[in-house]
Symmetry: C2
Subunit: 191 residues, 2 copies
């Protein structure tokens, strides 16, 4: 039998590279070295496996990124490190380019609408996490009281999505970090 976490890791990698619609159950079983019935008894369905693979990957990445955001660092410094960490994740040698979530299942067949809602919800949650950190900065006096933290969070969310798209198209790590540096000049009070 296959170790569950090993299977999720392999599945996540395939979904990351090829997307949900571009990955077949045959691809998955072959890569895991199992037979179709094992996949279905272990993970339920292709969609359920995708959900679990996303959860599995996010649980691994998000603790570190959450630490960066929620650390005692000033909000601007925390945001900078957070974005740099994402840029590194988008351009890991030997791993698929881009982010597994940021640019996943945007256009899709009708039958995959529920999968698209799933990734959209993850993106929304990610931006809400950013917004919560910015709200805290307002409360603590690090940002002006009238700051539009929602737009600020969605703006850096857009940068994260744009970085993922450009990484998929072959952009290198240094390029993405130049984007970040420029995006950070939009921070309230900078320059």
């Amino acid at each position: 039998m296959l170790d569950r976490d090993v299977g999720l890791d392999i599945a996540a990698r395939l979904f990351w590279e090829r997307g949900y619609e571009g990955t077949s159950t045959a691809d998955l079983t072959k890569a895991m070295g199992i037979n179709p019935p094992t996949l279905y008894s272990t993970f339920g369905s292709k969609e359920e496996l995708y959900r679990q693979a996303l959860d599995f990957s996010i649980a691994r990445e998000n603790s570190r990124r959450s630490d960066i955001l929620q650390s005692g660092l000033p909000v601007y410094e925390a945001l900078s490190r957070y974005l740099y960490d994402i840029a590194d994740g988008d351009t890991q040698p030997g791993k698929p380019p881009g982010c597994m979530v940021s640019t996943a299942v945007l256009q899709h067949a009708e039958e995959n609408a529920s999968v698209a809602r799933m990734t959209a919800a993850l993106r929304e949650a990610s931006m809400q996490t950013l917004k919560a950190r910015f709200d805290r900065a307002v409360e603590e006096g690090e940002l002006p009281a009238q700051t539009d933290t929602d737009t600020l969070a969605r703006f850096y969310g857009a940068i994260i999505q744009g970085m993922s798209a450009q990484a998929c198209d072959g952009a290198c790590n240094a390029l993405l970090k130049r984007l970040i540096d420029l995006a950070l000049t939009a921070w309230p009070g900078k320059r």
Copy 2:
């Protein structure tokens, strides 16, 4: 027989909504009201039809957007209107959300690598157009001589891609324009 341009318009609409991998030839023939052999004799293949549908759509949109960029407007004003026009395109009532090109075929099956290269090249060309306009602005003294126009173009390219992704997730026009306004504060010399 089907009018060629009408067919391309219908195909573009489907590909826009569902993506390349999410659109089947059965979807296409049904929407066009033709039989499969007609599709293949008229357009060659699914991939070739996608290419022609992209060209068809871009030819229609790009003339207006090119006019905005190449008009006599100051570069900052031209860029603002250009981005606003894209935000409007991402949120047209009765049309699929997002941009047909900006966030297309990012993750994909291996067999569709050539299609992905195609959309990547279109995105790159779009950013090169922006860069060329910025270079002109440097030559004309509108921007400082040491301006990194390449990064500037890719930054607004990232914003365009982020807007498309968020539109796919349901973002409204006003939200996208707030993103643009914030992104424009990163313009050299602003604030």
